[in-house]
Symmetry: C2
């Protein structure tokens, strides 16, 4: 057998995921070489402090603070530092030096993806980022390659494990948001500052990446309408449960026509009611899943672990081996296609159903008044259900009204809710949530 | 813009899937060209009879009975004729002429895959076959590429829609096998001669393909232990349901050590009890899903439509565009790696749990006798549950015993069941089924 070629791999960052990538590269070196056709030699790990404690014991001599020199001498660069700079500059340096780059940096891709893909195209090198969306789940490659002969019409993703864990706890135990968050923090599912997760920013970055690939266009974070879960209450969850729904934080990208009939893509993140029999409703705990609707393939779902050092390392290594195989075989890189050129639509153009909870006066004619108002706004009601509560001590009656609408434009729905608030028979609007999958 | 290159596509076969592939190639020509970087020109469709009625209206001049000439003049060949010959010879001709080949022919791959992959390697052309397993679901590419840096330990697949539909009907309505099969035939989910589906032969071919890719080795149909669902009774389903399980026909491939400690892969198809909370248990009707356990990625599931002309056409076109992009970019094909060289293990080496239903004499000491016998065979009992039935007319009591064992070797379990049959306190063994996912 002839001597195998050696490819130098530079690792930038040694956190949760990076440490596992380094461990597997060292431990599984022989098996990875057999599958790649070349030895993957970890040439160094760039970190801020070479003496920090790591999750995994790794040879001290691999560590360096000089990322720039490491990158310039590598065939393959794995960027797992996170953040915008210096990650961005190092990736550009790597690409211009002809190295293939693997990254899991969703924030960077959602902000600067397009300019990085162009750098890659120009240099003819591969930029891969499977780990940036839904951790271990192979989702970007299936969208890019397997579905390349199809037309994706809609993507619904549970792409943030922290919020799925919190919502699942609220659904299972009836806990309030704050208590479920505290529990998630205690178990390490949520960070001390949970803002990026619970306010939907993490999911929004992933939504931009999913939308770009699915619709062969380029969407950035600023194109994503984003609402988090901090305002979802235990009573919202209970009401949803009662009506046969579960509340999930979904990243949604779907092709739509706006009011003028122009085609575009609505990209958004918000808490969403899903029927309990929908495949995504069964995604429990910190798991992730992406549900895709395509013209020919129909409904597809991809399910797995969305975070964690070892699972995410699996996605990084899949990209690394694929890029390395290409270097071994020779030939140019496969690049993104952005032939779709469909614009991002504002949230007003989105078409969804609404779930609306109302505390109403218990008097004759209320239902008729509300139904009339919905009709005036062109919003059709699918289900309307009134529950009368009587306080046995005070003997005062109150009425709760739950409405699920048919699909209508976000603009019409928002206007309807505004108008409902102005009705004298309404004590309060207790919840307004979007519904998908019906 | 420079003139785009044109690639000639030959289609062999124009059944359910082939007709949809032709339709999409013609209807979506511009979008496919934009994504490929070349025009995909359907140069002809080889069929046995050019005047047969088709599901889709297609230009008559495309049809020919001369498959050989068509293949020799093509850049890309799509084989959807099924069967071994002439499909095999035409694929070999295509490869030797330097054409990339896309096929959905699971029977051919399970029988002759290794020799075809070798032909492809030698000629440096791509042989792709995503459509051969689980229809529209992108599963082969994720296993080959996305999980290339991981170690798959187990694959559990619902890969036959007909049997999943029948078992789901039996589970939902309590129907007997024969009635559920008749209903499936009436709805077009089962063929007039349902043998290949209900006896597990179709699933076995897919199991061989999944096992080969997952374990970087080459398994053929003869390595697959195969049991169908025709002996699954309504009372088996009811008993499983009662115990919190659902019965699915699973294609299983898992890494094991045999009795001598040698590593190998057990590849098998059989009806299997799954806990109702297992992600595969929620796969209803004619849908397919593949559940993968990998060392680093953990649990992954891929779900979607496993059959049907249009969904399967999506998988064929994904392969076609990927192969065509490579032709446009240049550079050699990516080939299968078979560096694992792990042997297939006989069914005796498989390690599972068993569910055993027994009709026993209602007398003291029966449970102790049976438990003693299991212990002697080294099989540990997890759950043992006795139900006493009294016939109110005759006043005769009968006892039903349900046992779920811990995981043990298939050989030990089979020997235990044989021994149980010989006990004088046993009236009959009512069911023996394997259990996974516990």
């Amino acid at each position: 057998m002839t001597e195998m070629r050696t490819l130098k791999v530079a690792l930038l960052g040694c956190g949760n995921v990076g440490a596992q990538v380094a461990r597997i590269l060292l431990e599984d070196a022989d098996a990875l070489a057999a599958r790649t056709g070349a030895r993957l030699q970890l040439s160094g790990i760039a970190v801020r402090n070479v003496n920090s404690r790591r999750d995994v014991e790794l040879p001290q001599e691999l560590f360096t603070t000089d990322a720039d020199t490491l990158v310039k001498d590598a065939d393959l660069v794995i960027e797992l530092m996170g953040g915008i700079e210096p990650a961005r500059s190092l990736i550009v340096t790597a690409i211009r030096n002809g190295a293939c780059v693997v990254t899991g940096n969703k924030a960077l891709l959602a902000q600067d993806g397009p300019s990085l893909y162009e750098e890659g195209d120009k240099a003819g090198v591969q930029l891969s980022y499977e780990a940036a969306v839904a951790g271990a789940i192979p989702i970007l490659r299936p969208i890019r390659d397997s579905l390349s002969g199809d037309r994706i019409t809609r993507v619904l993703g549970i792409v943030n494990g922290t919020t799925n864990y919190i919502l699942d706890q609220m659904d299972t135990t009836g806990a309030q948001f704050a208590d479920a968050l505290a529990e998630a923090q205690r178990l390490g599912y949520a960070e001390a500052d949970p803002t990026a997760d619970v306010e939907g920013h993490d999911a929004a970055a992933k939504a931009a990446i999913l939308a770009s690939l699915s619709f062969h266009s380029r969407f950035a974070l600023e194109n994503v309408h984003c609402e988090g879960i901090s305002s979802v209450s235990a009573s919202d969850i209970a009401a949803a449960k009662d009506a046969g729904f579960v509340i999930k934080l979904l990243a949604i990208a779907e092709k739509l026509n706006d009011a003028d009939g122009n085609e575009g893509v609505s990209v958004r993140v918000h808490p969403t009611l899903l029927p309990r029999e929908h495949p995504l409703a069964a995604v429990r705990g910190a798991f992730n899943a992406v549900f895709i609707e395509a013209e020919n393939a129909g409904e597809l779902m991809f399910y797995g672990q969305g975070a964690g050092g070892t699972p995410t390392a699996s996605a990084v290594l899949g990209d690394l081996i694929s890029a390395a195989r290409r270097l071994v075989l020779g030939g140019p890189a496969r690049t993104e296609t952005t032939t779709g050129h469909v614009p991002a639509l504002p949230i007003d153009a989105a078409v969804t159903s609404y779930y609306i909870g109302l505390d109403v006066a218990d008097q004759p004619g209320v239902l008729a008044k509300i139904a009339q108002l919905f009709a005036e706004h062109g919003v059709s009601i699918e289900i309307m259900r009134q529950t009368i509560h009587r306080d046995t001590e005070s003997n005062v009656e109150s009425a709760e009204l739950r409405i699920i609408t048919h699909r209508a434009s976000e603009a019409a729905l928002a206007a309807t809710v505004e108008a409902v608030k102005g009705l004298d028979v309404i004590n309060s609007v207790t919840s307004v949530l979007r519904v998908e999958g019906v």
